[in-house]
Symmetry: none
Subunit: 191 residues, 4 copies
């Protein structure tokens, strides 16, 4: 009989534990918001003793930072699916709406991201997530239109998803269509 049989618990798995705590933090963040995360909530969610959270991360702030990094990284991966789905798509407009819709439907996740987005205004360290949306979405859309339109569309999308998320209403596909048409057909103003 092997010694290292996968028994009930894989014991002594520091890396796994670390990740478990980070994942729990992301979940708790999504549920209660940045403002109300506590070691206790995280420990309970991760099913680890209270001391473990501070053993792996020197401070709560640091743990939150790491968790936010995780969110950022997930967001980047998420945006990569946007990229590839748009690439494969035959109907840009519909696919984009689908993607935004899907994003909004994972509501607690979306709330978390907007919370972090706004919280970044007070807390420097949270900025990376904001930057993803501010910079990478326009870049992504830039493959399909000029940069000015891409930026405008990104801003519009952001506003529209924020509205959907906060109101709980479904994503406004028609609004997106309208904006998209507007941005694409207009002769660029001289200004």
């Amino acid at each position: 009989m092997e010694k290292n049989t996968p028994s009930k618990k894989a014991k002594r798995d520091p890396e796994g534990r670390r990740e478990k705590i980070i994942a729990a933090t992301v979940e708790v963040l999504a549920e209660v918001g940045v403002a109300k995360v506590t070691h206790r909530l995280i420990a309970a969610r991760a099913q680890v003793p209270l001391g473990a959270t501070t053993y792996y991360f020197p401070t709560l702030q640091e743990l939150i930072r790491v968790a936010v990094d995780e969110v950022v990284s997930q967001s980047r991966q998420y945006l990569a699916t946007w990229t590839s789905e748009l690439e494969r798509s035959l109907d840009f407009r519909k696919t984009l709406a689908d993607l935004a819709d899907r994003y909004v439907q994972d509501r607690s996740r979306a709330i978390l991201e907007y919370e972090i987005y706004v919280a970044a205004a007070r807390t420097e360290e949270l900025d990376p997530l904001a930057r993803v949306w501010r910079d990478e979405v326009p870049a992504l859309l830039g493959r399909y239109m000029d940069s000015r339109a891409a930026k405008a569309l990104s801003v519009f999308l952001n506003g529209s998803m924020l509205e959907a998320v906060t109101s709980g209403l479904p994503f406004d596909r028609q609004g997106l269509d309208f904006a998209l048409e507007s941005f694409l057909n207009l002769p660029v103003p001289n200004n």
Copy 2:
């Protein structure tokens, strides 16, 4: 002999005190964010004894709720200035940009409003503020364009101001111009 002799201070002014506390709460909220408001901060800011804050409001949460109502009401008044300034204006585009710019420049206030906006996603009671932006801004803009464009512009504005607020960068006037031109000149799609 009058009761309300003007002594050193106009004492016994419960209503005034109540309002003072609410105003202080709004200020503190704007400065430190919802997460970090305390009775002590409020009392210090309002220059009232600690006990007064709990005397006038049963719980901190209740006080915050009232303060948020106040923010909503101030926002409504604020939008009224948008209405009147746009009415008086000879250059809609410029005036609108001025207004958005000015809004964004009162940064801590703007952060607070977006915080509340996003928090509304978790907490029913905070929704009224979100509703102001979601419903009243389109209505206001609807005086100058068709409702579809007004809604789109409102959404765009929201996204654009959010970006300015979180990034700390100045409001993107050219982006607004572009969106405005786009929304106004495009033949509405059939869809």
Copy 3:
């Protein structure tokens, strides 16, 4: 029957409580040393709830500082008794030995003072006590001899009391006599 009858507890006596906490801190300091004081020990000794200690003093460090100030002030008063007893005395030598002896006999208090004295080497705030012995004892002795002898005697006394305190042996009266004679009779070296 009077309302304010001194019942079991004199309630709501903030100043009294403050002093009770300070006194308890001095006691605990004397018993366990600066290194091991905790809020809990102090609260238990003062018979007040844990929260009271932090309510009256923002930090433990601050509380210790105040307690040390109290020790300093007591030391100063204590030295005043030295002054007056020496003034009244017909036998300077004997009286001085009596005083030193008495000081040493209140052992835990004396230990505390030497502890603070030494701790001052690491912690700026504790210096005032050290200064009392460094400056005021020489000044006091200076009434009876030239300043050089007074300083030397003060240093000797300090060393001698330290030895008595740490060894638990009685104060070495004969050693003091010897030092005193030595310092007083010698023609001052030019050097």
Copy 4:
């Protein structure tokens, strides 16, 4: 083939490791004081894994005890240098002042020794260090003067070095000269 192949590091040297830990403990003690020593600080300083500190010493208290023994032993050696330097010296007074001065200048070490000295008043086991100063210094000085003067000088030296250490001021050479002259020239009192 030899067992103890000189690989990267001379491994498996339990005694060496033990001593490394003790030495590190003495260093850390000198730096942060008895109150703030931790296993972690010691392990880091000794560049050994955390577990090693508890592997070689059952408890932290025990490790500190051993380290204090080490300090005592070092002090004894240190005094041996006093002995030999005084023996070789042509100018007793100057040499003694040099020695005291040098002692005081290694300030963190001196603070540690006085800390232990005073702590001995509370903790029996720390007494050996106190005894070194209390007994051995007078014995050492006794080679140059009668025992009464030697004892008095030892006490004076102790007080003077304590003052220098706690105040951070340089050692008072003139004070020592004065005391020395006084103790040596005075006709011994009858008493």
